[in-house]
Structures are given as structure tokens and as C-alpha cells.
Symmetry: C2
Subunit: 283 residues, 2 copies
DNA sequence: TGGGACTCATGCAATTATGCATGGAGGACG
DNA sequence: CGTCCTCCATGCATAATTGCATGAGTCCCA
């Protein structure tokens, strides 16, 4: 049995089709089919049932899926641990943060970092889903909640105040009412975020006109006069066409947390970036 | 990183040289060198130091050895679990037992089994070291001690009486003395086995003339008139040239235990053999 | 009912990895 | 000090694997 074929097995189990699994592993569909066949021959069992809905695990396949997953965990840990021992200040750093945070707060810091350490390549990903630090989809993550995953080192970076904004020429809504005003909020997929609840409380009669999962997009819509948005102050104050309005009370603030995997503690380039981020952004 | 290369890494770490690792994996020395190089390139670290005494792990290599070993465990469990679900009565069964036990007690039982299940290939290994059930070096093991490994199902099979033997024309030693008599005992590597201690107690003035790790060899030497040996009764009584002698008390008897891996419980061919072994040998 | 977007299987060519053979380097031993 | 044995590195021919291209089947939708 080839251990590498277990990777193919996992990919097919997760993706459901040979083609998707191939894309995930950077190989081709015929190869996936043949590697799977080789694995099944080696262990003497059909691991998948070929159905019209793709490849679904047989009982035998499902029974051994856990083993394959643990193998993957160990293989990732193997690589992570070696990566964490790198001492030289070059290589790749992957960072993930929310769109506006990356755009308005991180870019200047990272630009400074890039000047200081020109041999380090920085990848800054603004993905709405949480990238996994364990799988090394990212080396460093900024989030609005503490990290509850095991083996993740996390610390509070800063306190982020929010404010309500409109376009400069937008008629200011009346606090406690908001009749006629339009609201710009987070995507409904995010559930009820505290600032959305706050907005609907202080402007109960206003109507939600636009949603987006990106604060930066909300800010731009707000500049276009589409309504009232709750934005982090660094974002709202940075855009010239926006006016901060007073609705009697401030929207709830949020904390920003920073996290990285324990195995990466001693990664020199990560520590260098971390030091700079804390020096420039921590309050 | 190729997961299969981790197997190469493990083999080199254990064997110390490329050639030995290659023999273990059934490949060739150049391949091992190249696969290791590929792995080191993939993870960006030298995992071994090339010394005059062979390949020794670097700090980085030693740090990730545990991960590779856990991967191996899971890969073995993966295969074991699938093997345990086999239903048809063919395939391979590996059995390990001591030399004389295999020769005198197991061969008739296994011959009967082979007649009943002609499509099952039986491998009977008489290795003095304990083969590992977990690594599937053997599917079924007979030992003189209970099994203390985790996940091993073990049960007592039978009570094995021992007796003292000499060649038929050998002058019978006097119990409690033994002056002039020669002793045949277990290999010194086995430490003090109870029958060796017994022999030296009832014949304190006798001298150890020959040692072997194999009871069958001891028995043959005894037949040649080389001295007094303590042998299991089924072995001693089976050899025509041997005479059982009375030294006032019987040597200590031993138990025989049988063990197999929990994952193999439902392996039909193993169960079939187990049933037959118990029916023919258990007391 | 036909076209498009999927799926997987298979023949074929090019790439890649493998094993064999050889050479050089380092001990062990007479 | 030569001989022998073992080790690893490397060139080269062969074998194995891969990717591409294609075909057949399925599903969905106009």
C-alpha cells in the first residue's frame, strides 16, 4: 500500500468526484482514478461505491476514514514543525484578516515589513471563511473572537471602536426612530452581529436596504448615499465622502485577536512580523 | 511532500543505511537516496546527517520522527481494520510460535487446517524474538506469557508440563548432587528461566555444557548424549532416543498463551484456525 | 429533443522514477 | 599495505506513471 494513495482517498472522500479531488491535489482525473484503484487493490476492498451522485464511501471505506484523517493530521504536523524551526528571514508568510482590516490597517504595516525584510514574501488573504492555522492555510490570523482551536497561540491585539456613518449629503436620521432611513448591514449569513442589532435598536423604523459580507463594500455603498452603515472608525474616517453621525450612543466596539499555531512560535519571520504588528497596532 | 516518502524516512532512521532500508522496503539503495532527497527538498530541511557511521537523524529529523511513527501506526491500523473485515476463507495467515511448539504441536493441527481450507496460505514463523501483532508481522502468536500489549486479545491455551531428559545410555545423575553430569540449558540471553534455575537447584554440582535458544536443538543434543535437558513432555516423549529421568521432583510447568490483534477478531480464516487450535490443543 | 456541462474510462505519448552497473571513499583485517 | 567488504553517488537504459485527448454516459434546461 502506498501511503500517498491515502491522500487521494481522502480527497475523493471529501470532494465526491475524481475531477474535484484532482484539482485539489493538483493532479488529473485519470490519475486519481488509477491511484484509487491501486489502493483498493492493495487493501483488497472497494472503498467507494460508484453512484450517479459521484463516489460515496462504502462501509469499509467509512470505517477507515478516521485513520486516513489522523494520518493527514500527523503529516501536517510533520511539515508544520519543520517549518516552525526555520530561522532565516526569507520564505513565505500567509496572513488572513477581514477585508477592511487588511486594507486599512495591515497594508501600511506590511509595507513597512516588506521594506525591512525584502526576502520574505507576504500573502495577505481576505477570505470570509476562517482559514485554518492547523492546516497552514495561513500562518497568522486576525479575528474578532478569541481562538478556541487547540494548539493555537492567541492574544488580544487591540480594541476597535465603531461608529455610524452616512454620506456627507445624506439626511441625518433621528435617533430612536429612523423612519425613512435606509440601513446597510452585514450579510445575513453572519447571523446577528452586535452592531446590526444595535442599528436596528436605535433606528427601529429604518429599513435594511443593502447587505454585504465586506465592510469595505458597505463603506463604498454608504459613500454612494445608500444609507446608514456601522463601520470601524479607521475605515469610516479614512473615506472622505463619509460623515460620522451621532445617534445618542456609540455602537458596540469589538476586540481584535491575533493567532498563530504553536509550532510556528519560533519561526523567525513570523516573530518579526508579529513584533512589528504589535508595535504599530496594539493599544 | 509525498506521504510515501515518510516510509522511506522511517526505514532509514531505523536501519541507519540506505542499503538496509532499501532491503526492508523491497527497493534499491539509489531509490532510497533519491526519495530521501526529495523529502528533504520538500520540507526544506536536512533530516539526516551523513556520517561515516551511516545516516543519523539531525535535530530536525529527530523532532519529527514521532509524527512519522504515528503515521505508520495509523497506516497499519488502516490495513488491519480492512483485513479484519475479510469474509472469504482465503488469503494469508501468519503464525508465530517457539520452534518445538511449532514443530511438535502445531504442525499436525495446521496440516488438518490446510486440508479443510486449502485456499488459505499459512506461514508459520519460529522466531525467537517476539513478532509484533500490532505491526501484523504475525496474525496469531503462541507465547509462554500473557500478552501485555494493548489491543491484543489473549487467552490461556494449555498447561505445559516439563520433564528432565537424558540420552537412553547416559548415566543417570543423582538428585541433589549431579557431580559429573552436564547440563543443556536455554541461551543465556533468555536470562534465568525457571526451568534452568530448577535444574541448577536439583543438580547443584553439575556443569552447564551447552546452551541454545532452541528447545529442539537442546533435545537433539540431549539425544547425542551431551547431558541433561529440561524439555516439554510432548517434545521429549516424541524423540525415541530420549529417556525421562526422575530427579525427585518435576521441573516447573509453564502455561501457553495465544494472542491476536483485536482488529482481527472477525477475520474468518483466523477464527477458523483458532477454533481448530483450541479444539485440538486446549486442555 | 438537442445542446451544454458535467461525470468517469481508456488509448497513447511524454515525462518521470526505478533498477542495474559502475566508481570512489572509508574501515576492518591479515 | 594490499585486499575485501561496506557504504553512497551517478550515468544510463528500461519500466512505470502521468497527462492529454477522446469517447461514452448522465443530468439539466431551453
Amino acid at each position: 500500500m502506498e501511503w500517498s494513495d491515502l491522500r487521494v482517498f481522502l480527497a475523493i472522500a471529501r470532494e465526491g468526484t475524481l475531477g474535484a479531488a484532482a484539482r485539489k491535489l493538483g493532479q488529473t482525473q485519470p490519475t486519481m482514478g488509477r491511484r484509487l484503484q491501486a489502493l483498493e487493490n492493495a487493501v483488497g476492498h472497494k472503498l467507494f461505491q460508484r453512484t450517479s451522485e459521484g463516489f460515496v464511501l462504502t462501509d469499509e471505506g467509512a470505517a477507515v476514514l478516521n485513520h486516513a484523517e489522523r494520518i493527514e493530521d500527523e503529516a501536517l504536523a510533520f511539515q508544520r514543525q519543520l517549518a516552525g524551526q526555520e530561522r532565516q528571514l526569507d520564505g513565505l508568510l500567509r496572513i488572513t484578516a477581514s477585508d477592511w482590516f487588511a486594507e486599512h490597517l495591515l497594508t501600511p504595516v506590511i509595507a513597512e515589513f516588506a521594506r525591512a525584510y525584502p526576502r520574505v514574501t507576504v500573502e495577505l488573504l481576505t477570505d470570509t471563511r476562517f482559514l485554518s492555522l492547523s492546516r497552514r492555510e495561513a500562518d497568522l490570523a486576525f479575528r474578532i473572537r478569541p481562538f478556541d482551536e487547540p494548539d493555537i497561540v492567541s492574544r488580544k491585539l487591540l480594541h476597535m471602536p465603531y461608529g455610524a456613518y452616512t454620506a456627507a449629503d445624506y439626511p441625518p436620521p433621528r435617533a430612536g426612530d429612523g423612519e425613512g432611513a435606509l440601513l446597510i448591514t452585514m450579510d445575513s449569513a453572519f447571523g446577528n452581529m452586535p452592531d446590526v442589532a444595535w442599528l436596528q435598536r436605535v433606528l427601529p423604523n429604518a429599513r435594511v436596504a443593502f447587505r454585504s459580507n465586506a465592510r469595505a463594500v458597505q463603506a463604498r455603498m454608504c459613500m454612494q448615499g445608500a444609507g446608514v452603515a456601522v463601520l470601524p472608525l479607521p475605515l469610516g474616517d479614512a473615506l472622505a465622502g463619509l460623515r460620522r453621525i451621532d445617534l445618542g450612543e456609540d455602537p458596540p466596539a469589538r476586540e481584535t485577536w491575533i493567532g498563530y499555531h504553536r509550532d510556528m512560535r519560533r519561526l523567525a519571520r513570523l516573530r518579526a512580523l508579529l513584533d512589528l504588528v504589535v508595535a504599530r497596532l496594539a493599544d
